[in-house]
């Protein structure tokens, strides 16, 4: 038995280890459970939910790019009602922490979704995806507007006592300003980063490779950007950070933790190796043993600048 303490705290939420699977890259848990033991992970974050089901964008939705991929899924999801009825029963049995991600097109919709889901005991925390267009106020992303992010945090905070995580967009000039407003409005943690806006063209047809024209870039290509954002938040705001972006193995995970993350999420790697989460937990444990780290939380923000 190893005596490394892998558990971490995010607000009032206790995770058995710092490795989570990211929203949009695990569906609702059932498919990936065929390939990996989700109970060995810190938790999973379900696909962004909206109040009503969304069918998502027309194809082509994804394309591979150098060391990454672009996606424009269009937040396809079953909606809150079907989620509660059909997905929660399975998720309950997984014996892993369940974090529910919410995406909405108005502040009222964020609040409404949270209220409905707050009654479900199986859900331990909420992660709010602010990288969505604000349909009521001009269609610009909430995630680009510090005031909007502040208001979402405040209004959602008012309707839930569960751990509240705001997932930040990297497509801003100072991400730490956003983390600051989340803290001020009562958010428990931030996750960083969501995907970076990108595009890709077919030079012969001169058409974008994905139908939506632009998509979100993920994978190893974004890791240095993500690390810099995590570090920026860590140096400027006292709030737990969940690091996300291009993590492929335990070394990448350790790098995020050292740069300021209390926990990490894995996205694109799940498509390639659905068992990566379990392997990364093992790798982190060995790393701690070998470097005489007794508690993985001691590693957080242990950078030597």
């Amino acid at each position: 038995m190893s005596n490394v303490e892998l558990s971490v705290k995010i607000g009032s939420l206790e995770l058995k280890n710092p490795v989570l699977l990211a929203s949009g890259t695990v569906g609702y848990g059932n498919e990936i459970a065929q390939y990996t033991d989700l109970s060995k992970l810190g938790g999973i974050v379900t696909k962004s939910l909206s109040l009503k089901p969304r069918k998502g964008n027309p194809p082509q939705r994804i394309v591979e790019t150098p060391s990454g991929m672009l996606n424009a899924i269009g937040l396809a999801n079953v909606g809150v009602e079907v989620f509660v009825k059909e997905k929660i029963p399975f998720l309950k049995e997984l014996n892993t922490t369940l974090i529910c991600n919410i995406a909405a097109s108005s502040i009222e919709e964020y609040v409404e979704c949270t209220k409905i889901l707050d009654g479900e005991d199986a859900i331990q925390a909420f992660e709010i995806n602010v990288s969505c267009p604000n349909v009521k106020e001009g269609g610009l992303e909430f995630g680009n507007d510090v005031n909007a992010v502040g208001r979402i945090t405040e209004k959602v905070r008012a309707v839930t006592k569960k751990t509240l995580i705001i997932k930040l967009s990297p497509n801003v000039s100072r991400i730490s300003d956003f983390a600051k407003v989340v803290k001020e409005e009562g958010g428990d943690a931030v996750s960083a980063i969501n995907t970076l806006v990108g595009t890709s063209f077919n030079i012969f047809t001169r058409k974008p490779k994905i139908k939506n024209i632009t998509g979100g870039l993920s994978g190893p290509a974004i890791k240095p950007v993500a690390l810099a954002k995590v570090l920026e938040i860590s140096r400027n705001v006292d709030i737990p950070i969940i690091g996300i972006g291009g993590i492929m193995n335990w070394k990448d995970a350790a790098e995020f933790i050292i740069a300021g993350a209390a926990a990490v999420q894995l996205g694109t790697i799940n498509f390639i190796n659905p068992n990566a989460g379990v392997e990364i937990v093992e790798g982190l444990k060995t790393f701690c043993e070998q470097t005489s780290v007794n508690k993985i939380s001691e590693l957080t923000a242990s950078y030597q600048l």
């Binding site: 569906g27 194809p59 994804i62 498509f271």
Partner: protein, 252 residues
């Protein structure tokens, strides 16, 4: 479904640019059904990042065959593998063909590399069914007959068999084939599948088509592979709900 570290056994070059590889992958081989596919990691590094999907071309005991042409970087790497190399394969994936039921003759319609899933179907077809294979290509070098039976060929340039598309060839055979007693199995490029879909709907054929599209995961977690439902009610996922669909149920 398995993530199986498989052993690369051999590579054979069939026609121009067409390769057939054999891998030792016992768990996947034992559970595979015709029409299913595997998602293959063609390198040990992050390049190419994503797995590449390939139809299960045939199964012999604990070995699987895949057939492919060199398309881009991923297939190029796959074609340079040597006997003994390890290949990380995820599968078997998808629904596969439904070959049971009330029909007499399986009509296989294969355009170019669309032939890939049919050797396995040919092998596993219930014993009471006949086979009639329509195989097409741009020219004779693109006509892939490996593992097929009772073959009728079309080429766009007339260099072998019927001059024209495979669906045009099918039209000329309709009288010969009794529409009530056939089930059509199609795979190939989208324009071909579209023509086949139209023909099947017009003639009320029972028709299953295997479609391709860009994929990331291959097992239902990324939502990257939608195909529009014919009833207008949103999308199905090619990797999980397909890749084989009833021709009446999807929009191409």
């Amino acid at each position: 479904m398995y993530i199986e570290k498989s052993r690369f056994e051999s590579i054979e070059h069939l026609e121009h640019n067409i390769h057939l590889i054999k891998v030792y992958s016992p768990s996947i081989a034992r559970s595979a059904k015709p029409g299913q596919f595997c998602n293959i990691k063609v390198s040990d590094t992050d390049f190419p990042l994503l797995r590449r999907p390939f139809s299960i071309c045939n199964v012999e005991g604990e070995h699987i065959f895949f057939m492919f042409d060199i398309h881009g970087e991923g297939t190029l790497l796959l074609a340079t593998k040597k006997a003994g190399d390890e290949l990380d394969i995820l599968g078997p994936l998808g629904n596969g063909f439904d070959s049971n039921g009330d029909y007499q003759t399986a009509v296989i319609v294969a355009g170019g590399l669309g032939a890939a899933p049919f050797p396995f179907l040919t092998k596993r077809l219930p014993a009471d069914k006949n086979i009639y294979s329509l195989v097409g290509g741009r020219s004779l070098h693109q006509v892939i007959k490996w593992g097929l039976k009772n073959i009728h060929v079309s080429t766009d340039d007339g260099s072998e068999g019927f001059k024209g598309t495979i669906v045009e060839l099918f039209k000329t055979k309709i009288d010969e084939l009794d529409g009530k007693k056939i089930r059509v199995f199609g795979c190939g490029p989208n324009p071909m599948l579209k023509a086949l879909q139209e023909l099947s709907i017009e003639n009320n054929f029972d028709c299953q088509i295997s479609v391709e599209c860009a994929m990331a995961c291959g097992f239902g977690i990324c939502q990257g592979c939608p195909i529009e439902n014919a009833d207008g009610g949103g999308y199905s996922l090619v990797c999980k709900d397909g890749p084989v669909f009833d021709a009446k149920k999807v929009k191409l």
